[in-house]
Every structure is written in structure tokens, then in C-alpha cells.
Symmetry: C2
Subunit: 352 residues, 2 copies
Amino acid sequence: MAATMREVAEAAGVSIATVSFVVNDSKRVAPETRRKIEDAMARLGFRRNSVARALASRRTRIVALVYPAMEHKLGGSAMEFITSAARTAGEAGYHLVLWPVSNDADELTELVGQGLVDGVLLMEVQLEDARVEVLRATQTPFALIGRSADLTGLVYVDIDFDRTMEQAVDHLYGLGHRHLVLVTGSQADASFRSYGPYVRAADAYRRLAAERGFAVVVLECGQDTDGGRAVAEEIVSTRPWTTGVLVLNEFAAPGLVSGLLRHGLRVPDDVSVLSVLTSTEMSTLVDPALTAMSSPGPELGELGVQALLRVLDGADTLPPRLLPGVLVPGGSTGPVRAGAAPVPDPSCTPRS
Amino acid sequence: MAATMREVAEAAGVSIATVSFVVNDSKRVAPETRRKIEDAMARLGFRRNSVARALASRRTRIVALVYPAMEHKLGGSAMEFITSAARTAGEAGYHLVLWPVSNDADELTELVGQGLVDGVLLMEVQLEDARVEVLRATQTPFALIGRSADLTGLVYVDIDFDRTMEQAVDHLYGLGHRHLVLVTGSQADASFRSYGPYVRAADAYRRLAAERGFAVVVLECGQDTDGGRAVAEEIVSTRPWTTGVLVLNEFAAPGLVSGLLRHGLRVPDDVSVLSVLTSTEMSTLVDPALTAMSSPGPELGELGVQALLRVLDGADTLPPRLLPGVLVPGGSTGPVRAGAAPVPDPSCTPRS
DNA sequence: CTGAAAGCGCTTACAG
DNA sequence: CTGAAAGCGCTTACAG
């Protein structure tokens, strides 16, 4: 079966170097010679051994996707993201290996030390990320999905939180909402340790609030249905005049809605809810489907791999790309109720 | 940085063969010699180059996870499954590459021909699967997640549809339900081309119906919220006496519930709904949380990789393992209503 | 345009 | 217990 170059060379009556030139199209070869070689390859069923090639050329054409195995529950678009990354790599002649590693640096050091991969795509980047230091120290080419705090010399693609939040706020603003709440996941203890997306989204939100002149309210909640319910409770009891909620957590968003409903509020008649950065798979699961800013998962996977491959090819690095989520209208947002009372009262909420 | 064996050998004053013996612990080495070598390795920061090792040993210690890129929407536990597979591989010193390929055979032939992987884990296996033939023809070691129709000589792990369906039916049966409906995805045209899980689950369901003596009703629906709504409509209009529904589609299950609610039925007071083979992430998203048979995704990933590695190690193949889903009680199932009328009437449905 | 040869960094019989 | 040597299947200067 799997013939080698040497066998092809013998069959074609040429040297194995010439076979290599034909296989890689890396040097001019006389048409006649090329034909003989191609015949022999077809006849013998030649397939280039990628391991030998990797050893000789010092390029494995394998890149690793590094992501935290446990920490964050990955969103609903993670699978799409990964498939998109793997396919983009494949189309460029690369393979993608999966390295679900803890956020500690030693495991990553060990893995890159094996020399299996040409580069690394780092997901779920922390603002201060030990893995980035490992990759720098080991001279491993890499690109980030997300951003650390210090970006000097780094190649990355990320979500455009500014534009995503702006579109989200504008959507609610356009519907007349002025009493907004932003719900994020926990932003942890020290800000420099916290999760980039929450921090950046909240920052963008604060800027928008300053521009538009509305009050900043940021609440945190757990990443599941119960978390969403709890924050609904908090909103109803401490800020009953709220008419619009932006939730930056696709697992909590449906719980938030059902929590509001349980308190006798109607969605969207009394309160509009917008799920920010979610897969539409998740946001359309509930009834009504949630209005959402959908995550650009597949695009991030593709652009991330492309950016990394550019680094590996020694070409000019791609400029950082920031992609906004896309507004997907659903049934959870609507015009602010006319004559909304500061304190909601289910028995008296005429539609606009 | 990355020192080679030859450098370690020189530094330790031994041959590179001896270094190899220490690194791989593959031969007895005198304690004194070993110590010198280990010292040198630590001093020079030696890391074994996995590509050179692969070429020399003819084992890359890489396995591929092959899954269809587009066809089926992968379930919510796909990410867990893949992470579990990657981690299991990693713990055994292997790497996992992702091959999202179309179901056509040529692409897979091309990929295995590169000699990059020692074996393949095949997901979303069809009853009649061209990829299985490719792997057989190319002598590639492989294991299946799922089962094709002809299993002679194959290594596989799969869901135990018999036990899963039995537990699901028993759950509803124990609550007094006798008018059941099974909802699956489309079972396509010719049965031999169809999707294993639907076929096996339906088969198991038919056996249970024969044993228990209840009528077999199998409906099909699209894999999303709208599909669920449509089948709810169908149930209400054509089989209004139904009190229990088993849904084999996690994306349609919530839509089914909301479809029933829209028709004035209460869940679970009028109709109980059980989501069969879903991630709890999805089934707990809605309110009430769905009672579910949760998919054994992580276990399948782990066992699948272990089964494959056994094949690669030339050890006795693991016997096929079939894993049942686990019942996770939720709010969508309850006792059959007392004195249930054959035709539900929202105005007259006393609780049991 | 083509070939001989060194070399990528290991593993593994084979000798001793 | 240790070493010399062949070899895994390619790539890539270097000659010609």
C-alpha cells in the first residue's frame, strides 16, 4: 500500500529528490520527468508521510487549540468555533490538536516542549494569563482568541465588545428603555484576574451610559438557570423600575426570564431581556425566543487560525480583528410600556 | 533550549541509546548511569522530540476524532464528549486531532494516508457507513462511537438504547401513564441509511410496548424549537388522549413543551414530557426544567478512547460497552391526572 | 533540470 | 549493562 518516495523514485527511474520536488511543487521539473513521476505515484498509491516530512522540514503543520478543561462552562457556540477552526486549519494543510489543559502553566510547558505543534491558539484568555508567558518564554508562535491586558506584540482576534454592547443598548434604547441593568458573570476578586469578556463588556457599557446619560447598574450572577432566577429576584426587589435587562450569560438568560415571569412580570411587556453573546441555538430554545446578540463563534475560529498561520508562514501578521455579535430579534424585547410606573404592577400594565 | 538526546548523551558521557533507555524506561540501566543522565536532562532542559520518536518508532501517538462537519447538529454534550476524549488521550500520552469531515469517503482516505495518526475514533456512525469501509480497507485501527449495522470484528462503545428507553418508559409508566408517544428525528428514507440512535431507540420502544402492552406511536420532528411545536400540534390534534411524550431530540423538546402550553395544556398536569438523551445543560434551561435521561457523553468519550488505545497497544480488545442515559428528574413529568378524559379539556383537569 | 548526500532526532535490533 | 550503527521517510542545500 503506502508507497514511499524511494519506491516511487525507483519506479520512475529518478532520484528521490526529484520526486520530492514534484510532490511539493517546489522546483522546476521537466514535463517528461514529472509525468513519469506522477504516473508512478498514481500506480503505487503514493501518499507523502507527514511525520517524515515534519521531521525533515521542522514543521509539523499541526497547531494546538488550548482551552481550559474545567473552569468556565464553555458556551453553546464552542463546538461551532472548534469545528470552524479545525476546518480552516485543514483547508490550509494543517491539523488541529485539542489540548484541554488546566490554567496552570506547567502542563502547557510540557506539551509545547514535545515539539509536536508549530503554534498554539489560546482560548479563554485571562487578562493576566500565565499561559501567555509560557508561550512567550518557549518562543512558541501563538495567537489569542480573546485578549490579555498587555497586548504588545500579540496576535489576537476577539469579540468587539464595544460595538456589541452599543448595538444591544441601542436596540433597547430605540424601544424606549431608559432603566437598564447589565447582568454579567462574577467578575471575581481582583480585577486583573478577572474574565476579559465580563470586564470589557462592563467597561463598554459604562462608556455608553456616560454618553447616553443613563445610570449604570451592573449585577452579577451564576452561570445557570438558578443564577438567572436569583438575579431576577434581585432586580424585582431592589430595582423594580427596571424595564430592560442585558444578560451576558446564555445559561442564565432563560432563568432570568422565567424568574421575572414568576414574579408576575411579563416579558417583554413589562421587562425586555436581551441575551448578549449567545448561540442562537440556546436563545431560541425558550418561549418566547430571546432577542440576542449572537456570538460570532465560527468567524472567530476561522480568523484565529488564519492569524496564527500567518505567523507561522512568517508573513506580515494580520492586524487584530474584533468582531461584533449580531442582533437576532426575538420575542423577549419590545417597546417600553406606555406610562410605565416606577414600580411595576402586573394588574396595570397597558401595552404601548 | 530544547536539548536533544545526543546533547544529553555527550553531557552525561554515555551513548544516545542509553539516554533513550532512560527516557523511555525501556531497559535496565545502572543506577549510577541513570543518575548522570537524569542530571544532564534536568540541566539541559531535555524534552523528547515527539516527531522524531514517531518516525523512528512508527507510532505517532496521535489519534483522530472523525465527525461529520455539517450534517447533524451535534448535541449539547458534544463539547463535553470531545474534551473527555482529548483528556483521556492526553493521560495516556496521546494527542487527539479533530477531523471534521463530510461523510464522503475520499476525504478520510486522504487524511489517513498521511500517516499522521495511529488510529481513528469515528463518531456519528451510520448504520451503513462508507467511512468504516475506508478504515477497514486502509487497515487503520479504529473504534466507533455508535454502531454500524454490521459489527463483526468492530470495536465500539455506544449508548444503551434498550436500558435508556426502558428507564424512560418505566418512569412514565410508574407515574401511571399509558398513552405514550415517542418523538424522534426523521428516520429518513431507506432504513439502512438512517440514523442509528433513532432506529435503535424506536426499536427498543417497540419491544417495550410489546412487553408492557401499550400502543406504539412514533412521530418524527425537526431538530429545533419549531419542530417541537409542530409535533405538539400533531399530538394535540390527532392524539389528544396522549398523557406522556418521550422526545429523542434535545433541541425540539423545549419547543414541544411550549407547543403544548400554547394549546392550553399543562405540563406535567395534563401531559408529561421526558427529554431522552440530552445534556442537562439544555434540559435545565427551560422552566420547568425538563425531566431527562441525560447523555453519558463524557463516559463515552473516555471509554471510546480507551477502547481505541487498547487496539493500538495490541492488547485484547475491550468488550463493547453500552452505556445508558441517567434519569434526571425535572418538572416536566408527573403523575397521570386522575380520571383523565380521552380528550383533554383545560377547563376540567383535576390534579391527581 | 537532476542527483548524491547529509541530516531531521529519535528507536531498536544486534553485539559485546 | 552499554554502545555502534542502521534506519524511520522525508527535505534541502550543494554540485554538476
